[in-house]
């Protein structure tokens, strides 16, 4: 078998798209090196996130804001605005990235992201319902609707995907997510167009942003994200086995159903919490795990490790760039992520020869 690794898969064996490619950083030592570089990048992004804005703030002031708080304007900005924003960016960045990695592994589809399991559609539908039908208007009242929407959508998608013989196979999960997502999108579009007031509120909710959230939001969603990450870490190893196909996974002793259920649960917590906190920010969950896979190869543990570091880098740099480009106004992070991430993704796909996952 070993000798055949380089050969194209013959038709006798169904091609397993996730196995076989090694990535740019092939050895563990090189991967560790890259990881350190990414951590450094993250540190820079954190510093910039504190320093850059309508008012530029130095490292000193930041330090003083905590060590010797005297209540100056700048110190207050750091404590009340910049730090909550940084924390939120870190939390949701990690959550969205890991979420994407999990979904891609579980559905064995490199194109999968939160969109595909109907997550965003579920959140949007519940928020639309809250605003359009129940008439809630404050953002804080519908945060939890978003969470509930994600939860309901995930449960429904998983239930629909696992009915019938064969259980929740990747393709069935994907199709179920697309189908239910489409129905929920249709319903929420219907409500919006019938109620223009809801439409007006929601066009702003649709664009995810890190700005204007107090620390309490970050603290409220942190436990969910924490539990979600723990779950993700516990299933990482079995996801490696699941990626090889159900049969091989079974023979390697992985409990497929348990792995899938735990992974879906983790996605629910991570996506629900981050969507509730910052709105539907796309592209991070799709792009980061994908790019990371080209760098480190198909091992889920490395993918998760790199995703945890790289996703907040994308999130924070999008946020920082958003503050800079149309100063003194701001572009929402949800808009900027695609501008930052897409060129990287295109560049990578053009120079790599990998044909699949």
């Amino acid at each position: 078998m070993r000798a055949r690794v380089s050969d194209r898969p013959p038709r006798a064996v169904k091609a397993q798209r996730s196995a076989g490619t090694t990535g740019i950083a092939a050895s563990d030592a090189r991967r560790a090196g890259w990881l350190l570089a990414c951590v450094a990048l993250l540190a820079v992004a954190c510093l910039l996130s504190i320093a850059v804005g309508t008012r530029t703030i130095g490292v000193h002031t930041t330090w003083d804001a905590f060590a010797h708080y005297t209540g100056t304007d700048e110190q207050t900005i750091v404590r009340e605005l910049r730090v909550p924003r940084l924390v939120l960016g870190l939390l949701t960045g990690v959550a969205l990235g890991v979420c994407g990695a999990l979904i891609q592994a579980v559905t064995r589809n490199p194109l999968a992201d939160t969109q595909i399991l109907g997550v965003n559609a579920g959140a949007a539908l519940f928020v639309v319902f809250a605003v359009g039908v129940l008439g809630l208007t404050s953002i804080w009242s519908y945060v939890w609707f978003a969470f509930a929407g994600v939860a309901v959508a995930m449960v429904a998608v998983y239930a629909l995907g696992s009915i019938g013989r064969g259980g929740a196979t990747p393709v069935r999960l994907t199709l179920a997510g697309v189908a239910l997502g489409a129905v929920m999108d249709g319903l929420s579009a219907g409500i919006r167009l019938v109620r223009p007031r809801a439409f007006d509120y929601l066009r702003f909710w649709d664009v995810g942003t890190l700005g204007g959230r107090p620390m309490s939001i970050a603290l409220a969603v942190a436990p969910f994200i924490g539990v979600g990450l723990l779950l993700a870490l516990t299933v990482a190893r079995s996801l490696n086995a699941v990626a090889m196909g159900d049969d091989i996974a079974r023979s390697l002793g992985a409990d497929i159903t348990r792995t899938r259920v735990l992974a879906v649960l983790a996605v629910m917590l991570l996506a629900g919490a981050s969507t509730a906190a910052v709105g539907p920010i796309g592209f991070v969950g799709l792009m980061v795990p994908h790019a990371v896979r080209w760098l480190v190869g198909p091992d889920q543990r490395w993918i998760l490790a790199f995703t945890v570091v790289c996703a907040p880098v994308l999130m924070l740099s999008a946020d920082v760039i958003g503050r800079l480009v149309i100063r003194p106004a701001e572009l929402q992070a949800g808009i900027v992520t695609a501008f930052v991430g897409a060129p990287v993704l295109i560049w990578m796909v053009r120079r790599s020869n990998v044909s699949a996952l």
Binding site: A338, I346, V349, R350
Partner: protein, 360 residues
């Protein structure tokens, strides 16, 4: 050629595992049709006819089916004729044309990408068209012609950019998809930015267009759409069965004499053009392109993705969707896209739950 002689004794025909119909009117002309596919298509066409007559007969002024038929065949004059032929018929005709165009383009893309999620959306067409409309609405104006042109230019430009960015010694399906996703993500952001910057009315108009709608269509729009869809369908027929051979894998298709890259580009172009026509005429009506080929495949149980059943299913899907969009919350007319998405999605989910084909 032993088998030939055996055949003349009325001996074994090929067992395809399903019933087939072989028509050989002369030595130069022969076709093989799956009985099930043919029957399914016929039933779908019949259903389309029934829904069409129903749609023509209901609304603010109700007409019984027989009067509708008389009006269509020219035996009725005056009021009934005006309502049926002048007011309602163009909408039904456009629903059928656009529906089949969407079904066909969905089939072409799903087959090319070998992915049930393959659609023109994948290479950013609809997002680009939306950007085009937003730009047109913001800087030019938002009457029907302006939005149509905006959509057309935006969509085609995006598709071309995606193709060029993905081109590197030929275009490989996977790279095309990734580049398409990246480019649509950027354009999606641009769209969001437009929507929050624009005043409510502009944003609302754009959102209404963004759901796809057959409202306010008249006979004026029928000829261009009919010619375009007709010509593109003929082109698909002329390209023959090479799409099915591409499904066997690139090497096998080449070995069987399919010129891979030109054929693939030609199919991409036709698929995009079909979507472009539909989008320019009625906005991005979602889900028909995605669901029609899948529903057709499950109904016909034919291998792979078939073009004709997808077109027929698409036409029926859009017609029913439009019928419901107009009647469901009358007098408020929903954009048809809202209905197709809910209807198609629900039906799709039901099919999935029934697992009729045991697809994995």
């Amino acid at each position: 050629m032993k088998a030939l002689t055996r055949r003349q004794d009325g001996a074994p025909r090929v067992d395809f595992g399903h019933r087939v119909m072989v028509l050989r009117p002369s030595a130069a002309v022969s076709v093989r049709l799956s009985v099930r596919t043919t029957v399914v298509c016929a039933i779908l066409l019949l259903l389309t006819l029934v829904v069409g007559v129903l749609a023509l007969g209901t609304g603010e002024f109700s007409l019984p089916p027989d009067q509708v038929v008389r009006a269509l065949t020219g035996q009725e004059s005056g009021w009934a004729r005006l309502v049926v032929v002048e007011w309602r018929l163009p909408r039904v005709v456009l629903a059928l044309l656009i529906g089949s165009a969407l079904g066909l383009s969905g089939a072409v893309f799903q087959s090319l990408m070998r992915n049930p999620l393959g659609s023109p959306d994948v290479i950013g067409f609809n997002t680009g068209a939306y950007t085009g409309v937003l730009v047109a609405t913001a800087y030019v104006g938002h009457d029907y012609a302006q939005t149509s042109v905006g959509a057309l230019v935006g969509g085609l430009l995006t598709a071309a950019v995606v193709y060029l960015l993905a081109y590197r010694q030929g275009v490989q399906g996977f790279r095309l998809i990734i580049v398409g996703i990246a480019v649509s993500a950027v354009l999606g952001s641009v769209n969001q930015w437009f929507i929050i910057k624009a005043d409510l009315q502009t944003a609302y108009a754009a959102a209404l267009w963004g759901q796809g709608s057959l409202n306010d269509l008249s006979w004026d729009q029928v000829p261009p759409v009919a010619y375009a869809v007709g010509a593109l369908s003929l082109l698909l027929v002329a390209m023959g069965p090479s799409l099915r051979l591409l499904e066997l894998g690139d090497d096998a298709a080449s070995a069987l004499g399919v010129r891979r890259e030109p054929v693939r580009l030609a199919y991409l172009a036709v698929g995009v053009a079909l979507t472009a026509v539909a989008t320019a005429a009625a906005g991005p009506i979602s889900f028909v392109a995605l669901a029609a080929p899948q529903i057709a495949a499950r109904l016909t149980r034919a291998p792979g993705i078939a073009l004709v059943p997808s077109a027929v299913t698409g036409a029926l899907l859009l017609l029913v969707g439009d019928f419901l969009a107009v009647r469901l919350f009358a007098p408020t007319q929903l954009p048809v896209g809202v209905v197709t998405v809910s209807l198609g999605g629900a039906y799709f989910a039901w099919l999935l739950a029934r697992n009729t084909r045991g697809r994995k």
